[in-house]
Symmetry: D2
């Protein structure tokens, strides 16, 4: 951490800062620059300890500049090699790319089983489907809740697909954990810290979606909340950020794939359905994600998108999904990855 003093800060104010930091046990390096004094602060956990000290509010201080990333467990410094997350017999973060596909919301048995069989046949290994739905308006369909979880479990029995589904509050962690193979934390809950702690206390893999306006650092710190409770099985899922552009529902930030792989050891997947909001953009963006190094995809598929209770405009038909999978297979191969275990 670097403390930058103001132009012409008094000697007294510089001394006060030095005194305070030194009493707190930090080692200090003072640089008298041409126009400013700069203090280097050295020690363990400087960012957290200095945050608690509010040095920035001391007289004569212009700003405090962080040097290190504030995350630990998720970072490559601590664990340089890539993590592989086990979901039953599947491994996320290895050579295989896993595709999670299914409807936005579980609507009924027929819909879900028809999609489940279809996506399984096309090569998906994990079934997605919302039972508890966070919706912007209180007047929109809110999901089938436990009934939806039961249908997901039935689809798993029939197809062998793993199940990923969203948990929207601390009070649902226990019941969703009973049914799901992967717990999804949605974008709107990325900084619901109570929920992060609660899923951190389970032993299930957690799919952590990026908040619509979360920086990489905040997103990784959300993973850190889960890991700090003992659950290291976190999978990042990029699903688009909010920008000034509104032709697309969100701006899908494909760069999060190489960035998170650089900064952390955890797997990263991409959701081009929420990321774009338009079905005709899903396939090109899925291919882009795989080319950039994504460990998997999450794709909305619906037997009849125009009858979907949620997110129809961004859902693929089974035919379109089949075509997506064929193209993904080719691109995966080009970047030395593969869809199937061999």
């Amino acid at each position: 951490m670097i403390v930058v003093m103001q132009h012409q800060a008094s000697k007294q104010s510089v001394d006060n800062v030095l005194d305070r930091l030194s009493k707190a046990g930090f080692q200090l390096h003072i640089s008298e620059g041409v126009s400013r004094t700069v203090i280097g602060v050295i020690g363990e956990n400087t960012k957290e300890r200095l945050a608690g000290m509010a040095v920035e509010a001391m007289p004569g201080v212009e700003k405090v500049v962080p040097i290190l990333h504030p995350f630990k467990l998720a970072g490559r410094d601590l664990k340089p090699e890539q993590s592989r997350i086990q979901v039953g017999d599947l491994v996320i973060g290895g050579k295989e790319i896993h595709v999670m596909a299914g409807p936005c919301a579980v609507e009924n048995e027929e819909q879900l089983l028809s999609v489940a069989h279809g996506v399984k046949k096309a090569g998906a290994t994990i079934l997605r489907g919302g039972a508890y739905k966070p919706r912007t308006s209180p007047y929109s369909f809110q999901g089938l809740e436990e009934e939806g979880l039961k249908l997901l479990a039935k689809a798993r029995r029939e197809t062998g697909l793993k199940i990923v589904t969203e948990v929207t509050g601390v009070e649902f962690v226990s019941i969703v954990t009973e049914y799901a193979d992967i717990l999804q934390v949605g974008a709107r809950n990325m900084q619901n810290f109570q929920l992060l702690k609660a899923v951190g206390k389970t032993n299930k893999p957690v799919l952590l979606k990026r908040g619509a306006c979360a920086t990489f650092e905040e997103w990784i710190l959300a993973a850190e909340y889960i890991m700090a409770e003992g659950n290291f099985n976190v999978i990042f899922c990029e699903r688009g950020i909010r920008t000034f552009e509104n032709y697309t529902r969100n701006t899908l930030d494909i760069s999060s794939v190489p960035v998170l792989k650089h900064l952390t050891h955890l797997p990263v997947i991409v959701d081009p359905s929420h990321g774009t909001g338009k079905w005709h953009l899903v396939t090109p963006m899925a291919l882009a994600a795989v080319a950039a190094g994504a460990d998997g995809l999450m794709v909305e598929v619906h037997p009849a998108p125009s009858e979907a209770l949620s997110d129809g405009p961004q859902s693929l038909t089974l035919d379109n999904f089949l075509s997506l999978m064929e193209q993904v297979r080719a691109v995966a191969h080009a970047v030395n990855r593969q869809l199937e275990k061999q």
Copy 2:
């Protein structure tokens, strides 16, 4: 709602859309434009019902354009006159401007009482202070929890100030309701729909902070979640949005004051401390908020900002707060408002 068909959409696809909408009970107006067919859709709750129908996913449809705002209870259409929210003997949304002041986090009795007496003397009517703190990093100070609530209650007994404090999860609604006069829902929880429903079931006024990337519409719909449960006592609090500019912690969107007053009947207050992140910007932005018509302010005050456990750089000293209040009084008077009941 308007359905815009694609350029050269087939007659068959137009007919399919008309047929589906007509069966759903909507009244339709068809306009054959120069290059496109446009269908006006008329009926009750068109937005929600059409959302459920995913017309946008039907063949030949280019886009669906909403015409009406999707909120009801919060809107001026339903209730044209301004709402006044009663907090004990105070009224928020009337001629008086109420200032909520206090430390970011309750740290200990001495700190809290010293601030409480100071801000009361300067003219504040409500004491703010966090007992449960949502923090970006799991390694930062997380609040005193119930101990903090007890200190707030003690400060209320000693000063007569009302209490506003944050509730960070459904599991804390009951205990915070016991102590607080106003329940605060923080920016990160603005779309924690379980929490919104839970505070909607209490009879306490709710201070609803704007999410850092929430549109006006999403923010109003969050209020709608609370109101749909029967609690109409919602106070909006603008606290800055996230933009590309990072010299300030957030970009404080003062326009939300006249915009929300135009679209809704609920009171709007402004938090210039989180909105800027720098103490020297707090007073000018507080004055701007009052000039623009805000019904109140929320300001961080700390007896010794450079020793604060949280948000020191944006906290005012008691002296600076006193000066802020004097200037606010003058600007309030200039826009025909006042700080004190008369």
Copy 3:
């Protein structure tokens, strides 16, 4: 165009709007909705003509909703098939993917020729290099100007590569046109309308970079300015948009590739160097762009990035560029494109 009247707008104000639009020669469709009157406005060039009429400012009008995109020459409605832009014997927009590579700024003969030979050998077909440099600070290196153009011409003679270079003002169009094969309009000048008109009067292909906060619509309208002067040879270049995330220099919006190919008939290329600002992100994002359907890439290459006068941190070494090209070749093949003419 749709005109939405306010809730309970008077009959008089509705009649005034109808009267004004009808006199302007538009055909009108009136829908009396449950809570509002909506007027469909039909005719040629409705958006421009209505913009000139400021109907939105008439009493009783709530808003005016555009239905059609405001661009014509660039749109698929007018010309459904993909445009192919001829640059000498190269074609941009066909099956071949073209890579434009070179230093950010032309610095001296040795640097430029060494890069030119290197990128040519690796498979690039076009040499990039700035002679006139737009720089945020007046104190940064501003380019070699005409001397730089001469070096580019020399590199073309020696390697056979085509030349693309930026024109930063109307006064330089004539001289840059003398030397370059493609005129580049930079992001900061995307709405320098005088410059757009000036390059529209030349017969050179124009590479039009996206402004850092330009919507797709504004970007396409910038192309429309060029095309309206008679020059239809416009190539879009996505180079990242400005968002709240600042770990990367910009957020590279890969979705602009399928979006612009959907809305327009013009080729789209991607610049992952400016789009990310970090050399280690360039290759994965280049692969993503090609997988998403880009017609080409623009990549910064420098013989010794740490000695570059501009943009060193985002420049590839020749070795890294060679590796990028090998991977691009594989991904191009996977999506049925190719690097070389066959």
Copy 4:
């Protein structure tokens, strides 16, 4: 400037960096932190000189952190006292607040003179009006050009108001300088560096609008371009930034007033018309600007907004402008400023 080395950077790479910086004449301070080596770099113009060195691209370097702001002439370090800009007998940046009012575009003599007399009577001191209009679409009205300048000059003769009007390209600097009292550089041209240099060579005050996605630093550096040519009479004009919110045309960033007054010695005015895009938001935001310390306002006024050729929806009628001025007068007084010279 601080150079942060990577975790476990080799001694060799640290030595290379030290060697290079030391040869370049910098004084260096090395801090061996717990997990990283950090190098403090001291000297004149470190930012520019280091930018030219691309240290960030050297092996083993993680990042380079700037310490000082990169501007000089505009900054408070160099000139602590507030600048006052003389426009004829008016002073911008003193106790008086100056209001620049008039139509978006000069349309004809009758329109302009009617507005000019009206705003003069209401207390405006400067007439605004566009003769050269930068428009997003090539099909929109582009302004009356020199004819418009002549009408502005006529309005000045008749009313005594000063004239501010936009210059949209280097080729128009000379003619606009003939007629105008203040040269306006529009938001889209804020980084048209050729234009900045050209107005920097005149002796006219320059009103520099903030680019829609310009950071404070970039905006100040644009002023620095003008000042580096010898023209120190720069007035900043905040006119809203582009964010995710699109209910308002832009998000008017009122905090730019206290921020720029903190960082620079130049006057700052605010344009609430472009900043919001809706006439009913103009007055509250104008009051907010004045309360926050703005030195002036720029407001669009039109005798009949619904017949305006440009920006009607955000223009005030003369009656509404009169009411705005009365309220501005009261708020100005409350913050110890005034509208009229006394």
